[in-house]
């Protein structure tokens, strides 16, 4: 039995459906991220686990106990908020010890636990400071310590790094992950930042329009997206509408060019519409010997992105992006030059056809 179960949970606000038929099982000690654009229902789902929203239907079970209608102050969860939510009138130690004081623990126990937490977040000596005397990153670490001080069974983080600058975000997410692993605490992490979700999660739940699009480990989400939305939302993608030419030979065509995929097209027929998805880093310039999966186009633009160089190639009326690692001695084509690019059949994903309402 999973440690945290969210079974058939839906939530509506008036006529608006915020979350629809959400099903997820989280194992003990697992870190699962909810990833999706604003308004996709990820925060509402998290708030239902925290008890701040009551599901319109479905159930939420923590460690075998149905907590669907339990008030938030009786749930075994700790929460970290985007805006830190430290109590401005209390110093760091009082903030961390707040929950323990509510639980009427002894002063010695509170002091000991506060010190342990300050050590854990690498902020010993900060106990007597007030929130306004700390940086954003330090405040969020204190908020994390405060949430962990009570030994919650589930830790919930609602976009905890969104208010921080890029460098601190990267270092703090590593810190959160290592603390989570050290304590082995079951964690749900909400973010709209794909890099954040992919880098720290055991599994990622990609959400869109109040529903789950795909659940899987980061590697699977990135490399084998099951829907166009996941493919588009996670990473950069070349996506074009195409037609099945030969399902058995796995041949697809678009704009007069043909590509072969390694994935089964058995359920499709000649003439069926699909969407081809190829990651930019899976494309490369074709060598002279290469004969299959060749796309002919013209270089439109070259963008230097630091570690990567992104080349925009026009293929008829479509634009393809190709990423290549930066190398000071890289011989790049000139803008306007005719080029041939290629990719392996494994890089060509055939997804359900693009719908107008999406993306």
């Amino acid at each position: 039995m999973a440690f945290l179960e969210i079974n058939n949970v839906s939530k509506t606000f008036g006529k608006t459906t915020a979350v629809k038929d959400f099903n997820l099982k989280v194992e003990k000690g697992e870190l699962v991220s909810f990833l999706g654009p604003s308004g996709c229902g990820k925060t509402t789902t998290l708030r239902m686990v925290a008890g701040f929203e009551v599901p319109s239907s479905g159930e939420i079970i923590i460690d075998g106990k149905d907590v669907t209608y339990e008030p938030p102050n009786r749930r075994p969860v700790g929460m970290v908020f985007q805006s830190y939510a430290l109590f401005p009138n209390m110093n760091v130690a009082a903030n961390i010890g707040f929950g323990l004081k509510i639980a009427k623990r002894s002063r010695e126990e509170i002091n000991q636990r506060v010190n342990e937490m300050l050590e854990l977040i690498h902020m010993p000596g900060y106990g007597n400071r007030y929130p306004h005397q700390l940086s954003g990153g330090q405040q969020q670490r204190v908020a994390l310590a405060r949430a962990l001080a009570m030994h919650p069974e589930v830790l919930l983080l609602d976009e905890p790094l969104s208010a921080l600058d890029a460098k601190i975000r990267v270092s703090l997410r590593g810190e959160i992950r290592s603390i989570q692993r050290e304590l082995g605490i079951t964690t749900v992490y909400v973010t709209h930042d794909q890099e954040e979700a992919l880098s720290i999660s055991d599994r990622v739940v990609v959400m869109n329009n109040a529903q789950i699009e795909q659940i899987g480990p980061p590697f699977e989400i990135y490399n084998f997206p099951q829907t166009e939305f996941v493919a588009q939302f996670v990473g950069t993608l070349n996506a074009v509408n195409a037609e099945v030419v030969d399902p058995k030979a796995k041949i697809l065509k678009f704009e007069g060019q043909q590509l072969q995929t390694a994935f089964s097209l058995d359920k499709l027929h000649s003439g069926d519409k699909v969407m081809i998805a190829i990651r930019p880093e899976r494309l490369s310039f074709a060598s002279q010997e290469k004969k299959a999966n060749i796309l002919k186009g013209k270089v439109q633009n070259i963008t230097f992105l630091g570690a990567v160089v992104r080349i925009q190639i026009g293929i008829d009326s479509l634009n393809f992006y190709m990423d290549t690692f930066n190398n000071p001695y890289l011989a790049l084509p000139k803008i306007g030059e005719d080029v041939e690019i290629t990719c392996s059949a494994e890089a060509v994903l055939a997804l359900k056809e693009r719908k107008e309402s999406q993306g």
Partner: protein
């Protein structure tokens, strides 16, 4: 070199005159009780009257009771409006502004008609008086608390406290109250000042208070009421200064000292 803004100084001096000139005139008049010389005779007469202390004490008591019950009513209401009932905020704001459009005399007669006879005869008790004062203080108390609540993230702080197991009493007393302390104090000062000088409610509900006492003295004597006005003014200021210094002293900050 910094330029002297003559216009700003002119306005400032004008404001000083506007504020202090009537006070100075009242003081000057109150010192003329003895013919031909300035003296504090009017003040001596006022302070020798035991009714002065009695009525001032009553007004002080009404003010304290009004502040206590007003806080108990307004703080949770304003908090709940911010936390869960944002939609009814305009309605609550409208209600709190009622004393500005409804004269005190209308309010007090309404109270007498409603609570001056069975089944709920409350006029022999000070309840209608305190209730009336609470209504009178609404615009000041509610707006002060409301502005304090606007300045902090009520929703997230409440949710953070809830997620750590806190109940509503703890949230209000340990999280919300200390963080809007300054706003509450400004509401308290204003309520105190209003109740100390209030006349209509106390007079029509027949309760002793400083306002009706001054009116009574004013109808019998010439100089003593001026002295009383200044005394009342000074005492109100003094009380407010004490409250303000108490507010400054109690920082509203909670600490757990950590050894390191």
């Amino acid at each position: 070199m910094k330029k002297v803004n003559i216009f700003a100084w002119f306005i400032f001096i004008l404001g000083i005159f506007y504020f202090f000139l009537p006070l100075f005139a009242t003081l000057e008049f109150s010192l003329r009780m003895k013919k031909g010389v300035y003296s504090f005779e009017a003040f001596r007469v006022a302070f020798e009257d035991p009714k002065f202390y009695q009525n001032f004490g009553y007004s002080f008591l009404w003010a304290v009771l009004t502040i206590i019950f007003s806080l108990l009513l307004v703080v949770p209401t304003a908090y709940w409006v911010h936390w869960k009932l944002q939609k009814i905020r305009p309605l609550v704001e409208f209600i709190t502004l009622m004393p500005f459009v409804t004269p005190a005399v209308v309010l007090v007669f309404g109270l007498i008609r409603l609570y001056g006879k069975p089944p709920l005869n409350l006029t022999p008790t000070p309840i209608p008086l305190i209730a009336g004062y609470i209504i009178l203080s609404f615009p000041y108390m509610y707006r002060s608390v409301d502005s304090g609540l606007r300045a902090i993230d009520i929703r997230t702080l409440t949710e953070a406290a809830l997620s750590m197991g806190a109940g509503w009493g703890t949230i209000i007393s340990q999280v919300i109250f200390p963080n809007i302390r300054v706003a509450i104090l400004s509401g308290v000062f204003l309520t105190f000042a209003i109740v100390m000088g209030e006349f209509t409610f106390a007079s029509l509900l027949s309760w002793p208070a400083f306002g009706p006492y001054m009116e009574e003295i004013g109808s019998m004597r010439a100089y003593t009421p001026q002295a009383l006005s200044l005394v009342s003014f000074g005492l109100t200021w003094f009380s407010m200064m004490i409250m303000q210094s108490l507010g400054r002293g109690a920082k509203g900050e909670e600490q757990i000292a950590v050894a390191h």
